[in-house]
């Protein structure tokens, strides 16, 4: 069993950023064509699904296997890397370790037994409202809302996308008409409420103006997708809604 790869530090950091808010341990599925992971947070509210093609790596050579990673440990060494560094990853089968090298720095990281780690199922969802927009726009909407409420509404209509939050005294509304969106597909109005805590974790890895896809239904989870690693990787994020009750 072997796994030998070299990857840009910032791509590995993105993987950590996407995963660490939800779980502290994750199972990496190593395949011939790349790696993937899927994780659900302890409260079963959010799911992240990440694919990284082998083209996203500088070098890649692997057999099929599973690696149980303690994300805090991986993060501890990745924090010491800089943009532009190449990180080398090597599976040490004999000692069941992952050898992580950043420049002259080496960490031989103990792996976690993957036997007890779950394989979460991805729900199939019917989410008729779909928009594609710049990442910076959704970030703006979430940031503006967090000071007044703990939840916000994502709304897709046939001619706009809206973020709406209502606090005790204040209201925040971000309205993006169709022509300021990359794409909009909707046959009516769809609205669901989401926890801002979770949305904040989700938007953290989003950088600059990369296009992100958001799908919304009525009182249904939202599905958010975006590319990473110059389109050689992909992230799907699912977040269960909050239901307003009186």
């Amino acid at each position: 069993m072997s796994f030998n790869a070299k990857i840009k530090a910032e791509i590995l950091k993105t993987l950590i950023e996407v995963t660490s808010p939800l779980v502290s341990e994750v199972k990496l599925n190593i395949g011939k064509d790349g790696i993937s992971l899927r994780a659900v947070d302890p409260a079963h509210v959010a799911m992240v699904d990440l694919q990284l093609n082998k083209e996203a790596f500088e070098e890649y050579q692997a057999d099929e296997m599973e690696l149980g990673i303690d994300i805090d440990r991986l993060n501890a060494i990745m924090r010491l890397s800089s943009t532009g560094d190449i990180v080398s990853l090597e599976y040490d089968e004999k000692n069941n370790r992952l050898i992580v090298k950043v420049g002259n720095l080496t960490r031989k990281m103990a792996l976690i037994d993957t036997a007890g780690m779950p394989d979460p199922k991805m729900p199939t969802l019917d989410l008729p409202g779909k928009v594609i927009l710049k990442a910076s726009e959704i970030t703006k909407g979430v940031k503006a809302s967090e000071s007044i409420s703990d939840h916000l509404a994502l709304i897709v209509t046939d001619d706009a996308f809206e973020v709406f939050a209502e606090g005790d005294t204040d209201i925040v509304n971000l309205k993006l008409p169709k022509d300021s969106l990359v794409e909009l597909e909707s046959d009516g109005k769809y609205k669901s409420l989401f926890s801002i805590d979770y949305l904040n974790n989700m938007i953290k890895p989003l950088k600059g103006d990369i296009p992100i896809t958001i799908k919304v239904g009525n009182d249904n989870p939202t599905r958010v997708e975006f590319d990473i690693a110059e389109s050689k990787g992909h992230v799907i994020y699912l977040l269960a809604p909050r239901i307003e009750s009186e």
Binding site: V40, A43, L125, H151, S195, N220, A240, S245
Partner: protein
């Protein structure tokens, strides 16, 4: 305190302030009992042992012993773990006997050759009551001090000379004291694991008995209480958070000192909240005409800022995690406290820790649904359950937040 004119009109007879007993009189009677002590420059007695580190003037704070004018085994007077079955009046009575000697030092001067510093530290590490005599520069003054965080204590005076007989050390605390490479947090956790009472750890912590050598310092009593509660709680939480969820909804109930406590445990990932409702005319809502409700909470990933609600948040969190760790279970916990007018004086954060511990040692109501659990809240508390929910981040989140598996279709 009440406005003076109201008290002058009432004079302890009409309860115009709305409390069920007159706090002025409770203080007065306690004060009367200690009056004979106040006229002397010398006090002799068996310190439980007990010390007090003030916070005013930090980093120059006043340290010193608390000494009652009685001999023998007085350890009970400074062991809040043993007080919960005693009345408010009794607690005020025995605590008000404690005369506080003060001596101003810099918090960094824990190793000072100053004799008062040395003896204060020795006293704090002792496991038994220690004969103590103190000569004051002037006669003890002041009233009984009540606060939300620290247990009450009596009048104080600056110390001129101070002596104690041979203290016996608790060997567990002594070991941590002499280990100057052991971090304070690890010392606290080890002692707790070895069964040392939280109040004893807090006392030693306040005199800088733990930690790597260069980081040792005096810690104001009220800060050390919360530091210890918070650190132990966090440690237990790290175990709680990976345990299996409980498999039912539980409601624990206790009425203590006219505080009604409910601890609601929910089969869910760890979350915690303390909600306190203060009736008008209770300690922390003296002027209001409405019930004041405050809350602090954390979700699974914890919080990074100090709880708005203060030290009691961490005291109750410790008690909750003790129960969950013992059972090796995880739950979301909401602690609700309804403080009614019979709670006339604040007696310290120990009351929160011990009340929640006591409530959790009783047999809970167990249910399969959140609705049935909330019905108990409805029965036991005066404040409507809807208002509790409205003021609760955790309950709102649990009742409104869906899970992903709610959307898994069976195909």
């Amino acid at each position: 305190m009440q406005s003076t004119s109201l008290c002058a009109l009432c004079r302890g007879t009409k309860y115009l302030c709305g409390k069920s007993r007159c706090p002025v009189l409770v203080r007065y009677y306690s004060q009367e009992k200690i009056k004979p002590l106040l006229n002397k420059l010398l006090i002799e007695g068996a310190s439980p042992p007990s010390v007090f580190i003030g916070r005013q003037g930090y980093p120059k704070v006043s340290i010193g012993p608390l000494i009652p004018p009685v001999m023998g085994d007085t350890s009970f007077i400074d062991t809040p773990e043993q007080w919960i079955n005693h009345s408010l009046d009794e607690i005020v009575d025995f605590r008000s006997m404690l005369i506080r000697g003060t001596h101003t030092v810099n918090i960094y001067d824990v190793e000072s050759p100053d004799r008062i510093v040395q003896l204060t530290r020795e006293l704090a590490l002792s496991k038994n009551s220690v004969f103590t005599e103190a000569f004051f520069q002037k006669k003890p003054r002041g009233r009984i001090v009540f606060s939300d965080e620290v247990q009450p204590y009596g009048p104080s005076a600056p110390i001129k000379k101070f002596d104690i007989s041979n203290p016996k050390y608790d060997h567990r605390i002594e070991k941590a004291f002499y280990d100057t490479d052991l971090k304070a947090r690890d010392a606290v956790l080890t002692l707790y694991e070895n069964g040392v009472e939280v109040s004893k750890i807090q006392r030693a912590f306040s005199v800088g008995a733990f930690g790597t050598k260069k980081y040792r310092r005096f810690v104001p009593t009220r800060w050390s209480i919360t530091a210890v509660d918070s650190n132990i709680g966090e440690y237990l939480m790290s175990q709680t958070k990976t345990a299996e969820w409980i498999n039912e909804y539980r409601v624990y109930y206790l009425n203590q000192y006219d505080n009604r406590w409910i601890i609601l445990m929910i089969p869910y990932a760890w979350q915690y909240e303390l909600i306190e409702a203060w009736y008008p005319n209770t300690t922390w809502n003296p002027y209001g005409s409405n019930i004041a409700i405050f809350n602090s909470y954390e979700f699974y990933n914890g919080r990074k800022t100090y709880a708005e609600i203060g030290g009691c948040y961490y005291a109750a969190r410790l008690a909750v995690n003790e129960t969950l760790t013992r059972e090796r279970r995880q739950a979301a916990a909401v602690v609700m406290r309804e403080a009614h007018p019979g709670y006339i004086l604040p007696i310290g954060v120990w009351n929160v820790r011990e009340s929640v511990r006591k409530a959790l040692s009783s047999e809970p109501y167990r249910f399969d649904t959140i609705g049935e659990a909330l019905d108990i809240v409805r029965q036991k508390m005066d404040i409507p359950v809807e208002r509790w929910i409205k003021n609760s981040a955790v309950l709102k989140n649990l009742l409104q937040q869906k899970r992903l598996e709610d959307f898994l279709r069976i195909t």
